[in-house]
Each structure stands twice: as structure tokens, then as C-alpha cells.
């Protein structure tokens, strides 16, 4: 009978394990690693393989334990330190990671990987100048490594020299032209500099070179849209969706461009993606758009009978509170307690810093209204219902959550004849190419009445400016009957 005998040696097996880990074949690596551990004494190589395996399987603590033991046994091994730095970084042990990266650089001064990692970590520790030194050395030693290049550009940007960052990225692109992440980093840098023309040109270069991915096309769409070239932007979004079909952000924009069948509201994932990514620049962007809604709401509420009578209006609910823009606008009015709800964790962080809210909840507003059965004297929804097409369901549930005589105050954009967008047959609402919905005034009024509201105010307003052009909309104040 034929016998199956183990004939492989440890060196061959460790090389195989490393290759299997690189190919994400974790099951095979796990099996062979157990075999190697029977065949050979502990070594830095085996420890590192074990840590890579554990990390690959999602057991970061176990990976760290492996490395802790190995570092104790082989304290002068730079590779172990470097890998532990990376893992500590991923487990939020930023200081430990920094120490390991620094130790790795000391143990092996010639290793650009160690310098690059140290540089990236210094950047995270708000030490951009030191980071710049490390990353510049790493790039000098390995100029064709795109990761180092991207790190250096980030350090340069953090040091305030976005020109240098762009130059670094361009040099990297010249050396590694097929590396799409470098291209995307350069496009993104241009977008954040509001240099949409260069962003478009860089994205077009990536397209012509045949390496543009979903991100490149998405950024291209953003840049084109910012230049008012909406038809071309729609094309770019459609291409982005082909390459990144699971991306809800792109999907919604493609739906808005009329390429996919329309949806009655924007998906929660889309909103979270947009506003999480937008959180830091949100307010300055809105101010630059001449955003008028918070001021208009403030004016309306100042005339609310309770406030006008010297009382305090509350509890109040701020749906889609974002960074707390409305709360700030209302800060000198007696509206309390104020509860905010938003989908975006990063927006909520910014709202919390303003210290105007009694509670903040991370939730989809429909889910919140359905599940939280409290009643409110006031529900606000500033610049939020523009992400809903059909309003009936939302108005009905909001009505149920208001105290008798409670107010629902919200803004909308107006559906104007001839505006771009996929208009459903009934003309009640349309999804516009920027991904927001616009509504017909008659539809808003009918929906409000059907939900049981009395309309206190439904008037046309300029809600903001796009370029120099005013965007038409409504400010709506609905009141629940006293009964």
C-alpha cells in the first residue's frame, strides 16, 4: 500500500506559508503553520507568520500576543517591531505603534519601510515636520514605492504646502503610472483645493491610460459637477458605478442622473457616506453657498406663540441635525430640551462639540420616528426632506409624534418645470442630478393635509445659492390639531 510521507523541509514550508498569506489563503497557511511549529524551534520568521495569520483571520489581539512573545525573545529583530507597529496602529495603540516604529528605525536604519511607517504615525500624532523628514528619506530610498509617495504628499499637505504635495504625487505618477491610488490622491488633492479643472484633467489622464477605477470616475463626476458640467458628470458617475457597483454613494448619483430606475428616497448608506466624508468642511461649505434655512427657521420660531408668550418650547427634535447648524442659530431662543438625530457619526461628533443638545442619536430619521415613541412640541427638519421623494409616510409618522398643537418645520427644494431630473409621471417630485429631491408645492400641501396637519405656512423661499444662482424652495410650518 502506498504511504504518504512528509518530505518537505522547513525553509520551503515557511516560504510557502508566506506566499499563501499574501494570497489570502488563510486555511492552507494555518494548516502548514501548525506543521512547521512541530518541525522547527521558535524563530522570528515563524512568529511573524503566525501573527500575520492571526491578523488575517481578524484576531488582532492574538497576533499582538504572538509578537509580544517574539519581541521578548528576539528583541533586536527590526521586522518584528515593524509588524507590531502596524498591528498596534490597527488596534488603536497609537503610542505603542509609534514606539515600535521608532525602535524599528533604530534597529535597521537602512529600511525605508520602517521610516515610512514611522512617518505616517508621526503624521497621525500631529508631528508633521518630523513626519516629513522620515517620509522624505523613505521616498529618497525607494522612489517608486507608491505608498511612501502618498505618505510624503500627505505630510507635505499637513505642513501646509499642497503645491509640494501635488508635485510629489505627480512625480510618483510619472514613476509608477499604473498605480491608480496615486492618481486618485492627486485628483482628490485638486478637488480639496477646489481646482476642479486640474482634477478633471488628471482624472481624464487616468481614464485615457485605462487605469481609472470607481474612485477616479467618482471624483471626476464630482469635479465635473462642480464645474456645472452635469451631463458629463452623469456619464462619469455611470462609469464609476460599473466599476464600483456596491458603492451606495455612486449608485444614488447614477439614479439621480436617470440611468437607474428612481427610488422614493435616498438610501441611508448614501447619506452616511456623503456626510461622514463631508463633516469637516460642511459648515464652511454651506456658508459659502449662502445657506439661509437656519436663519429662516429662527425667524419663524421667534413668532411661535409659546416663545412669543415668554415660555420655553420643548421638547424639540432636530431631524438630520448634522453638525448642529440649526441649534446654533436657535441658541438665543428658549427651545429646550433639544434632541438631535443624524445618520453620520462624524457629523454627530461635530454637533456634540457645540453642546447645544440634550441627546444625540445616530439613526435613520424614519427609524427613529418609528421606534422612539416620545411626543414633541416641535420637530425640525432643515434641509433634510430633500433626501426624500415621497413624503406621505414621513408626514404621517411625524404627525403621530407631535403633541397637540405641535409644529413640524421643514425646508424643501421646489420642482420647477424643465429642471433636469427623472420626473415620475405624476409630477409630484423628482430626483435631481445632484442627488437631491425637489417637490411640487401642490403635492406638499396635499400630503400635509392628508397626514392631518393644518398648514400654518407654505411659502416660496430662496434656500441657498448655487454659484450665483438662487435655488428655489419652500419653508413649511405645519401644525397638529389641538385634539
Amino acid at each position: 500500500m502506498e504511504q504518504l510521507r512528509v518530505t518537505a523541509d522547513v525553509g520551503t514550508l515557511t516560504a510557502r506559508i508566506s506566499a499563501l498569506l499574501a494570497a489570502n489563503r488563510l486555511g492552507a497557511a494555518r494548516q502548514l503553520l501548525s506543521a512547521v511549529r512541530r518541525l522547527a524551534p521558535p524563530s522570528p520568521v515563524v512568529a511573524q507568520l503566525a501573527a500575520r495569520l492571526a491578523a488575517g483571520e481578524g484576531y488582532l489581539q492574538q497576533a499582538l500576543d504572538e509578537l509580544d512573545d517574539a519581541v521578548a525573545q528576539f528583541p533586536d529583530h527590526a521586522g518584528l517591531r515593524l509588524y507590531r507597529a502596524d498591528l498596534r496602529q490597527r488596534t488603536d495603540d497609537k503610542l505603542g505603534a509609534l514606539a515600535d516604529a521608532a525602535e524599528a528605525v533604530i534597529l535597521d536604519r537602512s529600511d525605508p519601510a520602517a521610516k515610512a511607517l514611522l512617518g505616517v504615525m508621526l503624521l497621525e500624532h500631529h508631528r508633521p515636520e518630523d513626519a516629513l523628514v522620515c517620509l522624505a528619506e523613505a521616498v529618497a530610498a525607494a522612489p517608486t514605492n507608491p505608498f511612501y509617495c502618498q505618505g510624503l504628499a500627505a505630510a507635505q499637505e499637513a505642513n501646509g504646502s499642497s503645491d509640494a504635495a501635488l508635485a510629489t504625487l505627480n512625480a510618483g505618477i510619472a514613476l509608477v503610472p499604473s498605480w491608480v491610488d496615486l492618481r486618485n490622491a492627486a485628483i482628490l488633492l485638486c478637488v480639496s483645493r477646489r481646482d476642479f479643472v486640474t482634477a478633471c484633467a488628471l482624472a481624464e489622464e487616468a481614464r485615457v491610460a485605462g487605469i481609472a477605477d470607481a474612485c477616479s470616475f467618482g471624483l471626476m463626476g464630482h469635479a465635473l459637477s462642480s464645474l456645472g458640467r452635469h451631463a458629463e458628470a452623469a456619464n462619469a458617475y455611470a462609469e464609476a458605478l460599473k466599476l464600483g457597483p456596491e458603492d451606495p454613494y455612486v449608485r444614488h448619483l447614477v439614479t439621480a442622473a436617470g440611468i437607474l430606475p428612481g427610488a422614493p428616497r435616498a438610501p441611508a448608506e448614501y447619506l452616511r457616506a456623503v456626510f461622514d466624508g463631508y463633516a469637516e468642511r460642511f459648515e464652511s461649505h454651506l456658508i459659502s453657498l449662502g445657506y439661509r434655512i437656519p436663519g429662516l427657521i429662527r425667524t419663524v420660531l421667534a413668532r411661535h406663540p409659546v416663545i412669543a408668550g415668554g415660555g420655553c418650547l420643548g421638547p424639540a427634535l432636530d431631524l438630520g441635525c448634522g453638525t448642529g447648524f440649526v441649534a446654533v442659530a436657535l441658541s438665543d431662543l428658549p427651545v429646550a430640551p433639544l434632541v438631535g438625530v443624524d445618520l453620520s457619526p462624524r457629523m454627530l461628533e461635530a454637533a456634540a462639540e457645540k453642546q447645544r443638545y440634550a441627546e444625540l442619536h445616530e439613526a435613520d430619521l424614519m427609524n427613529f420616528l418609528t421606534e422612539d415613541e416620545r411626543r414633541w412640541q416641535l420637530i425640525l427638519a432643515a434641509d433634510v426632506l430633500i433626501y426624500f421623494g415621497a413624503l406621505t409616510e414621513l408626514l404621517t409618522i411625524a404627525h403621530a409624534r407631535l403633541e397637540p398643537a405641535g409644529w413640524l418645520v421643514f425646508s424643501l427644494e421646489e420642482l420647477l418645470p424643465g429642471a433636469p431630473g427623472s420626473v415620475p409621471d405624476n409630477g409630484d417630485w423628482a430626483l435631481q442630478c445632484q442627488g437631491r429631491y425637489a417637490h411640487n408645492m401642490g403635492y406638499v400641501a396635499a400630503s400635509a393635509r392628508n397626514a392631518g396637519f393644518a398648514i400654518r405656512k407654505l411659502e416660496r423661499q430662496t434656500v441657498r445659492f448655487e454659484g450665483e444662482a438662487p435655488v428655489a424652495g419652500f419653508l413649511v410650518v405645519l401644525e397638529r390639531g389641538a385634539g
Binding site: 500500500m1 502506498e2 504511504q3 504518504l4 510521507r5 512528509v6 518530505t7 518537505a8 520551503t12 514550508l13 510557502r16 499563501l20 489563503r25 488563510l26 486555511g27 492552507a28 494555518r30 494548516q31 502548514l32 501548525s34 506543521a35 511549529r37 512541530r38 518541525l39 481614464r207 485615457v208 485605462g210 487605469i211 481609472a212 470616475f217 462609469e239 460599473k242 466599476l243 464600483g244 457597483p245 456596491e246 449608485r251 436617470g258 440611468i259 437607474l260 430606475p261
Partner: protein, 807 residues
């Protein structure tokens, strides 16, 4: 000295005994005792021919003890004279009826000679003398198992295991007997015992896996193997059997991982690497599969199944010429073999040798007239063959489909509401970067989600960008690789699929065979080896258009025709396509024709026609691009075909495979595409159009011969379609002679195609939705009618018999 040699031999040192003999003087040869010793040592060292003279001489000198005679008999037997051996052994048996060694040797000799009945009798004689003789118990049981008497074999083996409980081979054979008596759990226990006694023997472990499958205790065995491989990570046998079991449970990725580890540990063993190769091939990881199978083949060069499997993988890697030579070699070595002949038929066709391919398929049908594979193979080769008629192809397809196994037609519980939202099932192994993906994904993306939800029943699931588009559009995704056809059909029914669209046909990883069991009340054939009708009685509809299937050709289909108002597919162009370059003829001063189609489509008549066109346009050139041109001999042969028609090799450029972007980018070197026939370009024609290159096409009779007609007509280029071969040649010459018109057409073609119905996904999605709704309403109305009839005469089952109505 000879006695010393014999002593060494008995001490187990065969080689030492032999080398001692080699140093002996020839004088010793006169001594009978020495001669016997020499003969015995030679025999023990597997040199029967050298043992014979010594033993015969010893007998001639009067040394006729039973032992010497038995050794002589063995030497005669091993040296090839079985009859002399048998005579000697029978003589010994007569002389010493109580000595069981001679009948035992006789039995083994008979068995080796294939004289099984005599072997059985001889074993029986041994057991009469010595009922506890283990080799006889085992040997006889083995013979009984072979002729199906497993119950008697089991009783003998139980005795053997009782006598020699440490004999792993006895337990293993007992397992085989118990498998034969359908005592699956006991069989598994017997194999387990064998494995425990001989943990390094792979065969015992693999028998155990098979027994666990039969006993339905796979999960228990797997749990044991999980623990056992953890405890003994250096046991390649355990790891291999775990891999095999995982594969059988449909956990293919884990199976590949386990087998990969086994192969890394025991790289010299052929079986684990062979099984790994098969698993990788099934996972569509063809490069890795081929490397593994090649290595297995090196270790086990004479294994027919292994060589055939490797040839299949080479074929799937588009290395058709290598696949063909491997198949020819193995058929030469092992004789005719049905599956190998089928593979040969396909590989040969793909090299542009369509007649030879069809002949090989027909030979396979002769050898196995009831088998399905040869029929499937004939259908796929016929499609490419010059002069194939629709009637001939439909007949072959029906011959094939009629042989599919079928369950009793199921009764469907789907509510026959004509307007309700529907569940549409996509059945395919190609929901990825593949013609099926390019030509259907945009349609499903734009199908109204309020009316249709998509459930994918996928094989060979990939994670490329088109696969991710399918995943994003699907409500549910099920990997069905591990399911048998009946299980797959049952799953589809349990999922409540209303309309099943087959996107695989009889192709690689196609599961259309499951449609014979009826997966859904409405079954529709669409892209995916849609080269003609499916021929399948249970396929209710085929999606087509008015160019593919004009009314006068409808009788060539077994399905009812679901004719879309524009084209029958919606092309989704790649975002990475290079921009269209100016017409090359302007700079070159001559026209460059191109054909980037599979060489299987290029028949001798196509080459003759193209040569005729080039003969009329002396400066013209032709670029052909196909996987097959990676092979030098194929290039030479094709150039030779053109040369035979007077076209010099310098005018023909044959390009091998490249990445897709490079592939489509090379249309920037082409002015006009010449379509092959009868099998026209499908996706290839769409890609050429996207790259600004029009195609001269010939409208044929079968579905596959009208793809280009459909695509060109949808792009508004119906003036590029010819009705017969002579007009095709004239059309090519005329179009090639107006460079200015070509340049103008090219510069606007991408925009034109993009705006045309061929690429208008929203429009296509609406039309597809209407067509599917029509098919659904048809079923609803039949079901309600049938229900009415059933009440009248009680004999009709609703909705089972529509597909057969047009037979």
C-alpha cells in the same frame, strides 16, 4: 558461500545475498544445493529469468524437494511461462495434499493471470487445508467482492480480522465488502480501523471518506478530521482526506486550502496534487490547476483520467493545440475513450478543424450512444461547421436534450397573478467578466426593481467588477456549485422563482440540464451558449429579436420566441476602453481587415472567401487575433491555408491573446472587421463597433450565424450585412474601396453606438420587463385555463406541458 548467501537472504538482506552471489566462482554451479541457493536469491531479488537456469539445473541434478519445485514454479511463472508453473504447482499439490503453500501460490498465479474462477477454487483448497490462512481469506474475499458476492466476502473477512486484528488491509477489504452489502456505517468503521492501523496509507483514508458520504455521516467525520489534523498537523493523509471531504461537501475554497497544505507537506505524492488540481479547475483557477495537474502527471505519467483532466484544463485555458496533442497521445496510449474523444472533438474544432471535430464527436456517440456528453459535444462542434443547417442542429440539440434525466414534473405553487412582482432567477456560471456579463448585466440593472427581484443561482462565482455588479443588483445570491441537478431544481422551486433565465446552456459550467427537472413555472433561454435553440422540451421561451429570429426561421426552434423590439442583448462597454483612433488606412495607404474572433469560427470556406477578397484588393492586409495563435504550429497551418489560396504570409498578421484593454485597443489597427460564418461574432462585433470598426457580416440560418446582423442593425449599419457569400465578398470590396466614407463612419461610430438601442440600458430594461411580463401572463392564463380543464376531466397538471407543445 552459497549457503552464506542464503542465510543473508533469510536475514532479510536481499541485496547483500545477491552481491555475495556475484562474487562466487562458477564452479559452485555444479553443486545442487548451491544452485538452489543461487536460484532462491535471484528470485527474491526479482530476477526470475536468472533464477530459472539455476533451479532447473538443480532439479535436473535430482534436487526435487517440494520447496525447490515450488521455487521453480514461481520462477517459471514470473518469467512468463504460466502453464509450466501451473503444472508444477498441481504436481506438488498431488504429492503433498496437506501443504497449503502450493495452492496458495497457484491461486495468486491464477489471479494475476486473470483466471479468476480457477483462482477462487485454489483459494478454496487452501482454506480447506488451513481455514485460518490470512492471505487466502483476503485473496478469496477480494475475488468475491469483484464478482459482487459481498456477503460471502464479508464473512470471510470477519474471520480474517478476527484472526489478524492488526492487518490494516483486512479491515480495509472488509470495509469494501460492507460497502457492497450496503452496510455503510459498518463499512466506515472498518475503514476507520484500517486507517488507525496504517495512518500513512492514503487509500484507506479515502475509502473512509467515501463510506462516510454513503452513510450520511460526513459532518461527523469532518469534525473528527478537524480535530485530528489539529492534533497531528504533519499527517498529510488526514489533511488530504479532509480536503477531499470538504470538496464533496461543496466547501471548495477550504478544500483547496487543505489540499494545498497536504501537497506542500508531501510534494512527491501524486494523488493529493491531482485532487488539488481538480478542485482548482472546478474553482476556475486554471493556471494553478494546470500547474498542479502537470506536476501530478510527472509523478504518475500513465494515469489516463489525470491526463484527460489536464487536457480539459488546457482547453479551458485556450491552449487548444496542447490539449489536442495531449489527447491524441493518450488515445494512442490507452485506446478509444469516450470522454477523451469528446474533449478531442472540442479542441480540434477550436483549432479551425470543424469537420474533424464533428467526426470525433460522432465517433464518441458510436461508442456510447446513450451517453449525454458525446451528444452535447456534437451540438457544440456542429454550430461551427460550414454548411450546418438549422434543422440539422435542432435535431442534434433535441437528441441531446431528450437524453437528460428528468424528475416527475413538479406542481408549482407560484400564485398565477399576472401583475404581481416577480422573482426572476438567473442560472449561470458566467455572472462575471464574460460575454454573458457584458451582454446582460446592464439589462438586469435597469429592470424595474418594483416589478422584478433578481435571484442569482451562480456557479464559479468570481469577484471581478461585473460579478460585483450582479451581486449589487441581486436580491439574493446562491452558490450552487455543490448541488446536483435535482437538488438545484428543488432549491429554485423552494426559492419561489417565477421565471428562470438560463444563462449557461450546455457550456462550461452551464447548468441548463437542471432545467429538464423544471426549476420554475416559466423557463427562458438567453445569452450563454445561446448558439441556437436549446432543443430542451422544458425550455418555454427563448429571448431573441427580429433579426436573430425572423418569423420564417421560427420553426427551427423548440422554444416559443420572445422577440424583443430592438436587439436581443444590451452591451455594457468597459470604462477602460481606449479612445477610437483615426482610420489606419489613411496613414497606411492600404486597408487592414481584422477578425478577432475565436479560431473555431474560422472555417476553410471562410479562409477561401477572405483570400478571394484580398486577391481583389492587392494592397490589403488581414490581422487575425485569437488565443489559438499563441501556438506556433497553429500559426503556420493557418498561414499555409491562406498561401494555398495565393495570399502571401506577409499580408497576414496572426496575433495571440492579450489583456482585454490591449485586445480592444488593437481595433485601432483595423479598418474593417470581416465576420466569420456560419458562427458570427457576438460580443466581438459589439466591441469592434465600440472601437469605431464596422463589421462585414453574412446572415445565416442558425441563431449563432445572425448575431452580427442583430448588432449591426441596431447600430444602424444594416447596409453592412450580406445575404450570401458572393455578396459578402462584394460588400467587403466595396466598403474597403471608399476610404473617405470609412473615416467618416469611424469618427462618429462610438457616439452613434452609445446612443443606439444596443447600449441604451434603460430602454432595454423596460423592453425586457415587458417581455418577461408577457411570458408570465401567458403562464398565468394557461394555468387558470388548465385549472378549469382539470376540474372538468381531472387529468391535467397545470403548466407542465407548454414546452412540448410545438414538438
Amino acid at each position: 558461500m552459497t549457503v552464506t548467501a542464503l542465510e543473508r537472504l533469510y536475514a532479510g538482506d536481499h541485496a547483500g545475498a545477491l552481491s555475495l552471489l556475484d562474487t562466487m566462482s562458477p564452479l559452485d554451479a555444479l553443486d545442487a544445493e548451491a544452485l538452489v541457493a543461487r536460484g532462491v536469491v535471484q528470485l527474491a531479488n526479482h530476477r526470475p529469468a536468472m533464477a530459472l537456469p539455476s533451479l532447473r539445473a538443480a532439479v535436473a541434478l535430482g534436487e526435487t524437494t517440494p520447496a525447490t519445485l515450488l521455487n521453480l514454479a514461481l520462477a517459471e511463472l514470473q518469467a512468463g511461462d504460466a502453464d509450466r508453473a501451473f503444472r508444477l504447482m498441481e504436481e506438488l499439490q498431488r504429492r503433498l495434499p496437506e501443504w497449503y503453500e502450493p495452492p496458495l501460490r497457484l491461486a495468486e498465479a491464477f489471479r494475476t493471470a486473470g483466471r479468476m474462477q480457477e483462482a477462487e477454487q485454489a483459494y478454496g483448497r487452501v482454506l480447506e487445508i488451513n481455514p485460518r490462512c490470512e492471505p487466502a481469506l483476503l485473496g478469496l474475499a477480494g475475488l468475491l467482492i469483484m464478482r459482487g458476492d459481498c456477503a460471502t466476502a464479508r464473512d470471510l473477512l470477519l474471520r480474517c480480522c478476527g484472526i489478524a486484528p492488526q492487518r490494516a488491509d483486512a479491515w480495509d477489504t472488509l470495509g469494501l465488502a460492507l460497502r457492497g452489502t450496503a452496510e455503510a456505517s459498518l463499512a466506515e468503521s472498518a475503514f476507520a480501523k484500517a486507517q488507525e492501523l496504517a495512518p500513512q496509507v492514503l487509500a484507506f483514508a479515502l475509502h473512509r471518506v467515501a463510506a462516510a458520504r454513503a452513510a450520511g455521516t460526513e459532518e461527523t467525520l469532518l469534525a473528527w478530521l478537524d480535530v485530528a489534523t489539529h492534533k497531528d498537523p504533519l499527517n498529510a493523509v488526514l489533511i488530504t482526506s479532509r480536503g477531499l471531504l470538504l470538496e464533496q461537501l461543496g466547501r471548495r475554497e477550504e478544500a483547496a486550502d487543505a489540499l494545498e497544505a497536504a501537497v506542500a507537506l508531501a510534494p512527491e505524492a501524486p494523488l493529493p496534487i491531482y485532487v488539488l488540481g481538480e478542485v482548482l479547475a472546478r474553482s476556475n483557477r486554471l493556471d494553478d490547476a494546470e500547474a498542479a495537474l502537470r506536476r501530478a502527471n510527472e509523478l504518475d505519467p500513465d494515469n489516463l483520467e489525470l491526463r484527460n483532466t489536464r487536457a480539459t484544463v488546457l482547453f479551458r485555458m485556450h491552449r487548444h493545440a496542447e490539449a489536442r496533442s495531449e489527447l491524441l497521445a493518450l488515445l494512442d496510449r490507452h485506446g478509444e475513450h469516450v470522454n477523451a474523444l469528446c474533449n478531442l472533438a472540442n479542441a480540434t474544432t477550436c483549432l479551425g478543424l470543424q469537420d474533424e471535430g464533428a467526426a470525433a464527436a460522432r465517433r464518441a456517440i458510436e461508442l456510447a450512444p446513450d451517453a449525454l456528453l458525446p451528444r452535447r459535444t456534437l451540438c457544440s462542434t456542429l454550430t461551427y461547421r460550414d454548411g450546418v443547417t438549422g434543422a440539422e442542429l435542432l435535431a442534434a440539440l433535441r437528441d441531446c436534450s431528450d437524453r437528460l434525466p428528468r424528475e416527475h414534473p413538479p406542481r408549482f405553487a407560484n400564485t398565477p397573478d399576472p401583475d404581481r412582482p416577480l422573482v426572476v432567477g438567473l442560472l449561470s456560471g458566467s455572472l462575471r467578466v464574460h460575454p454573458v456579463g457584458w451582454l446582460t448585466v446592464a439589462a438586469f440593472e435597469t429592470l424595474d426593481p418594483a416589478s422584478y427581484s433578481i435571484v442569482c443561482l451562480a456557479q464559479n462565482a468570481a469577484n471581478d467588477w461585473i460579478a460585483r455588479r450582479f451581486r449589487a443588483l441581486a436580491r439574493d445570491w446562491h452558490d450552487v456549485d455543490a448541488l446536483s441537478d435535482p437538488a438545484l431544481a428543488a432549491k429554485a422551486r423552494a426559492l419561489g422563482i417565477d421565471i428562470l433565465i438560463d444563462l449557461g446552456g450546455y457550456g462550461d459550467a452551464g447548468r441548463m440540464t437542471a432545467c429538464a427537472h423544471r426549476m420554475a413555472p416559466v423557463q427562458v433561454k438567453w445569452v450563454g451558449m445561446q448558439n441556437h435553440s436549446s432543443g430542451l422540451a422544458e425550455m418555454d421561451w427563448i429571448i431573441t429579436d427580429r433579426w436573430e429570429t425572423p418569423p420564417e426561421l421560427e420553426h427551427l426552434y423548440s422554444e416559443r420566441v420572445l422577440r424583443l423590439p430592438d436587439g436581443y442583448v444590451c452591451y455594457s462597454a468597459p470604462p477602460y476602453a481606449p479612445d477610437v483612433a483615426p482610420l489606419p488606412a489613411v496613414a497606411n495607404g492600404h486597408v487592414t481587415f481584422g477578425c478577432f474572433n475565436n479560431l473555431a469560427k474560422v472555417t476553410p470556406r471562410v479562409i477561401a472567401t477572405w483570400s478571394g477578397i484580398m486577391g481583389r484588393l492587392p494592397g490589403s492586409r488581414l490581422v487575425m487575433k485569437a488565443h489559438q495563435f499563441a501556438d506556433g504550429s497553429t500559426r503556420e497551418r493557418i498561414l499555409g491555408c491562406f498561401a494555398a489560396h495565393g495570399i502571401a504570409a506577409s499580408r497576414i498578421e496572426l496575433r495571440g491573446p492579450s489583456r482585454h484593454r490591449t485586445f480592444i485597443g488593437q481595433y485601432n489597427d483595423i479598418d474593417i472587421v470581416l465576420d466569420p460564418f456560419p458562427y458570427s461574432g457576438g460580443l466581438t462585433t459589439c466591441e469592434a463597433l465600440w472601437m469605431g470598426v464596422p463589421t462585414v457580416a453574412l446572415a445565416g440560418e442558425i441563431f449563432a450565424s445572425r448575431h452580427s446582423v442583430s448588432h449591426l442593425s441596431n447600430a444602424g449599419l444594416d447596409d453592412w450585412v450580406a445575404p450570401d457569400v458572393a455578396s459578402y465578398a462584394d460588400l467587403a470590396v466595396t466598403k474597403a474601396s471608399d476610404i473617405a466614407a470609412l473615416a467618416t463612419l469611424r469618427s462618429g461610430l462610438r457616439a452613434r453606438v452609445k446612443a443606439s438601442p444596443l447600449c441604451d440600458a434603460p430602454r432595454f430594461g423596460r423592453n425586457l420587463g415587458k417581455a418577461l411580463r408577457a411570458a408570465w401572463r401567458d403562464w398565468c392564463s394557461r394555468t387558470t385555463q388548465d385549472a378549469g380543464l382539470e376540474m372538468a376531466d381531472g387529468s391535467l397538471v397545470p403548466g407542465q406541458n407548454h414546452g412540448r407543445q410545438r414538438r
